[in-house]
Each structure stands twice: as C-alpha cells, then as structure tokens.
Symmetry: C2
Subunit: 348 residues, 2 copies
DNA sequence: TTTAGCACTCATCTCTTTCGAGTGCCAACA
DNA sequence: TGTTGGCACTCGAAAGAGATGAGTGCTAAA
C-alpha cells in the first residue's frame, strides 16, 4: 500500500484537527477540507488504509479516527509544516529574557517558569556539569566575628558561595591557614572526585583541628556537589490541570517529574535541537499519555543544559517545537554570557 | 435556646464524623454513639435546634447534616479536645529537622515541603524582616579576574551573597575603594530606606565611575531587597489534588497562593500560636472552600516568620493544630540558632 | 422530655430508550 | 481502476423512568 500524497494530506488534517479540537475526526469533516475535497466515502477508504498502516486509531467503532503514536511520529518527522516564528513572536520570547545582569542561579528557574507560562505546558530545566570540570579557586571570607563566606569557583566558571556560622571566632590567621589548606587539598581536583570519602580523608589531615574545621570542609563539599549536580527546576506544573486528559493522572505525573533521578536521564542525553518523545515512546511508563519536547542548549563551549515541555500527546507540535528551539537558543546564549569567563582580560 | 451539653456532644460528633468520612451525618449514625445514646428522633430534634442556631447545614432535604462555618468555629474554639502529641509524634517531627548545619536559605523551603508531606496539606512558609533592621556590613571579595562576590550582612544576622561578573578587571585597589565607598553609603541605613531612589542617589555620587560600578551598586540593592523582603516558599501544592473537594478548584487555589502579595498579608499579621481561618472566614474569596492554619514562629528576639497549612475545610483540626504548633516552635528554634549572632564572642 | 411511627423528599443507581455521528461495504458510475 | 451515493449497522452519549434507601419533619403517645 502506497503512502501517497492524498494519504499524507488526510493524515496531516486528522492530526491537526485532533490537536485543535480534541475530538476524533470523521470522514465528513475531512471531506470538507479544501486540500482534500473528495467524498466522505473516498476519505473512509483512505482512512481504512491509514488504519491498516498503523497510523490511525479508532476509540470505538462508531467514532472518528485519532492519530496513533506512529501517526504523530510520521506527522512530526515529515508532514508537519513548522511555522517559522514571526518577528513578534521572537520579540515576545526575547522580552522574557530582557533582564539586566541576571543572577545565574535564578535565571534557569525563572526561565522554566516563563516557558511554562508562555506555552501552557509544564516545564523542566536542567543543567549538567561535565566530569572533567575541576575546582579552580576556593576562598574563605570572614564576614563577621564567627561567620565566614565560603566560595568555590569551578573551571567552567560557575561560582557558588555559602554562609557558614562557626562556633568560634575567626581571625585573619585562622582564615589564612584554612584558605591555604583548602586550596592545596581541593584545587585542581575534578568535582567528580570530591566525594564524601575524599572529604573525610582531607578532614583527617587536619589532625586535632579536624573537628573545628569540619563545618567548613563539609561546606566546601556541599558547594562542590551543588556545582557538579547542576540545576534541576520545574515550572508551571499546575498547567497540567488545564488539560482534561490529566483529570486524574495529574498528581502522578507531577510526582514523577519532580524526581530528577527519574526524568533527568531521559531528558539529559539528547542531541542538539528539539527531540520529541510521543506518548508510549517515553521510557517512563507513567508518561505514556504525555509528550515530552526536549531542547538542548549549550552554555559556553563545554557545558550544556536541557529544557523540556511536558504536556498531553495532543499538543501543538508545529507551534511549540520552533518556539522551544528559539527559547533554548536564547537561554543558552544568555547563560553563556552569564557564566562567561572573561579570560581575555586576564592579561589585560 | 440553650447550647447545652448534649447539643455540644452532638455537634462534636457531627464535626468529627464528617471530617473523617466526608459524608453528611445522619441521626441514626449519631444515636449509636456511646456519648449520645438517645433515639434518632431525639437526635433529630437536637439537630433541628443546632440548625436553627446556625451551627449546622443541610446539603439537601433528605441528606444528613454537615457543620456550618459557625459549627466548625464553635468546635475548634471550645469543643475540640486537642490531642497532645505523643513522644513518637514529637520524634517524628524532630526527625524532619535533624539536619546538621542547615543552610538558612534552604531550611525554610525544605520545611515547607516536609510539613506538606507530613500533613498532606499544601503549605506556605514566610519570613518578614522588621523595618528597623539595618545594613551592618558590606564586603566585596574578588574571586576571579573579573568576578567578585558581594556580601551584605544585616543587623538581624541575615547574610546574603551574590556573584557579580564585571566587564573589567578588578584589582585590590578597586575593590578597596568600592568596599569603603559602599560601607560609607549603605551601612547603618535601614533596609527599608534602601530604595531604587536611594540607590540612584548613591550611584550619582560615583560621578564618572557611576557607569562602571553600577552593577555592583545594583547588586547591593538587590541583596538588601532580598533580605528585607524575607522569604516566601510553597510546599506540596499537589497535595490539594488528593482531596475531591478541589476537583476543579485546585488550579485556582494554586495560582492564588503562589502570589505573595495576596496571601502574605493574610498570614503575616497574626498573634503567636496557631490561628485558624475556616472557609468563608478567609478574607480572600477564593479560599472560601478552604481552611488556613497559620502558625507564627520567632527567629531570635526580633524577627518572626509564619508557616501555614492550606487544605479543605474538612481537615483534621484536632490533629493538625498541635502538630503545626510544635512544628513551628521547632522551626523557630532551629532558625534562631542558624541566624544567631554569636555576639557574646565579639569581645572574647 | 423522649420516642415510635409514618409520610415525604430527593440524590443515586440501574435499566431502557432514543439519537446521531460515524463506519463498512456494495453497487453504480466515470 | 478509482470515486461516489446509498444503506444497514454500531455504539457512545444523553435523556428518561423506576426503584432504592438514607434521612427528614411532624405528630401523638409514653
């Protein structure tokens, strides 16, 4: 059976109509489409063929047809006409990022929220840190009689700080000693290396002072871990409630996507551009009723991150895919600037 | 009509049964309660009286009775027997706080999440900063050729830091100059004073360097604002979905409580202990189907915060109120320790 | 004051009927 | 050979009709 041009037009029309209305599409409706304009009976013959080919499904005998997962896949891969973004739409997304001097930590979380608001889907945003990233700089800044600020800078330019309150008074001598000690022990090591065991071993080297300095050592460990773990934020989970597809499954999906160890691996290993997982294509069975659009973005030359949309299988792919792509590109650019090591200035 | 002892026992039984089952309570069920043990007909007479008094409502003629808002109020204010926490329950809550060296910023957010998990309600946690709190200390720490860490310490002990990436190389001289400048201009002022206008005025004093240093000035402003605004976190919003009372209102409530400017004033101005807003007692009309349990806690001597539960009117007050009270007390204690200025050591 | 009795109400459940959108298939037609 | 009109058929959704039963209000007697 040939997947000829008219079959393609009919499949496209079914997908697009079903996305728009949420109702199974019948032969009469389709026959009225100008790009089809054959009788309902002919459409029915074609639909029967598309059903045979596994591209359509039938909720029940006397209902119209809905796209199967294969049908969506064929539509997305080759039939869909992606509408390029209008200048207005681009401006709309640009406006979301129109923040002066964004806080790198908040930018990703805010982006997830903004994207959810913009698309009406739940979103997830994540960054990962390559395993070769090292600790480049460690500092300890006395802020107060017994308070210090710990500072870790990683070789990918990420800076994290943490306030530590200590049980003793920190004078310059103590701070200088610890700073040198910490630099010697941590700098140059990859973040991956800095495990709980590593930290224990370092702590032991402090001998009798081990107990006193332990909060600081642990603090450094936590900062390194935070940098290495990267970020994981959700946005607009409540958007799922607006789709009646989720009437009773929303809670389950919300719980699932909040777990980085579940969703992280799925969205983290994808090529550049937008990857689409339609319904049952998702490796997580709970997502079989949802589609996942994932876009990877690059931060600087080495790091990368992922931002994804979660919504019903019946989502407007032709609109969302280009929007997500543009959004991810913008986000990557902005994060790159934010994290940029201005190494060119080093010698200036 | 006297609100006599038997009426009180019947109202209590209705409230407790309705909370447990979610079904209107009928005279036959009540007559079987050992503490009532009169015939259904007698119970009906009493129920008619309680209805007259506005303490009960009737979903429809042939259904049992449910408590009215007044009924809940009477129950909570004078009838309810609060079950003091068992040692096991106390241990359970203590365990939630069993974190070594908690990060003060994360503690509140984590607490909101833990409380939601523990109670099955949506939660909100907030802190406010008194208007007399001042900027006590400002520091700028070069971390990298063009990166500095800004540090603001407020007089209530809150420390906030922010990484600033600059377009120029920061040497010791520049850092020293700006540190002194910022200290002179900001320290001693209340956080409340540090408005956008204030910051503009300060910026102008930098004359030709105003543009160069502006990101830092703005950074300080943002840090001060962050400290002054305090924190606002939600937890377990998805818990609302587990109550069928919220089948279609969940989205609306979630949107509402995410807005600090809406919910903040309601929960922020309450006396110590647990305050209960039942259904229509809430000033926000969208919460008329929900109850709000709010507990204030003190951080140190001056600051205070609020943690609240949001759930259906039909919530287990006699269990939740003492639990929330104990939770808030623990949270306050832990935050007090975390934020404690060890001023006793200053001269040591 | 309490209680048994009784007629009444009304949401809920189940069963049936009706309705109609949509189908599959066949025969006729271009 | 592909297209179309015709027609019987299917089946979910909506509407209607009882039947059920939990619960009520009221009255009169204990």
């Amino acid at each position: 059976m040939r997947f000829d041009d008219r079959k393609k037009r009919i499949l496209s029309a079914i997908v697009e109509t079903y996305i728009r209305t949420g109702e199974p599409v019948g032969s009469k409706t389709l026959s009225e489409f100008p790009e089809i304009s054959v009788s309902p009976a002919t459409v029915r013959n074609e639909m029967a063929a598309l059903f045979e080919m596994g591209l359509l499904e039938q909720p029940h005998t006397s209902a119209g047809r809905v796209p199967s997962h294969l049908g969506y896949r064929a539509y997305i891969d080759s039939l869909m006409r992606v509408k390029p973004l209008t200048e207005d739409e681009k401006d709309g997304i640009d406006a979301l990022f129109n923040i002066s001097d964004p806080d790198p930590d908040k930018l990703l979380a805010d982006s997830a929220e903004a994207l959810a608001e913009y698309t009406g889907c739940a979103t997830v945003a994540m960054t990962t840190t390559p395993s070769y990233v090292t600790v480049e700089h460690i500092d300890i800044v006395p802020a107060d009689a017994t308070t210090v600020v710990l500072l870790v800078i990683a070789s990918n330019g990420v800076v994290k700080s943490k306030v530590c309150r200590l049980g003793f008074r920190v004078n310059t001598g103590i701070a200088d000693f610890f700073r040198k000690f910490a630099k010697d022990r941590f700098c140059g090591h990859t973040l991956k290396d800095i495990s709980a065991e590593f930290v224990n071993a370092v702590s032991i080297q402090l001998g009798e002072y081990s107990g006193v300095f332990n909060p600081l050592i642990v603090g450094i460990y936590e900062l390194c871990k935070e940098v290495y773990d990267g970020q994981y934020y959700l946005g607009g989970q409540e958007k799922l409630l607006t789709y009646n597809e989720y009437s009773d499954r929303a809670l389950e999906i919300m719980k699932l996507i909040s777990k980085r160890d579940k969703l992280g691996p799925v969205i983290g290993n994808n090529p550049s551009g937008v990857t689409v997982f339609i319904g049952k294509e998702n490796s997580l069975s709970q997502l079989s009723g949802s589609s996942l659009l994932v876009a990877r973005f690059n931060i600087g030359e080495n790091d990368c991150g992922t931002i994804g949309l979660i919504g019903p299988v019946r989502m407007d792919y032709s609109r969302l895919i280009p929007h997500l792509e543009y959004f991810a590109e913008k986000l990557g650019t902005l994060l790159s600037i934010t994290y940029q090591r201005k190494t060119g200035d080093e010698n200036g």
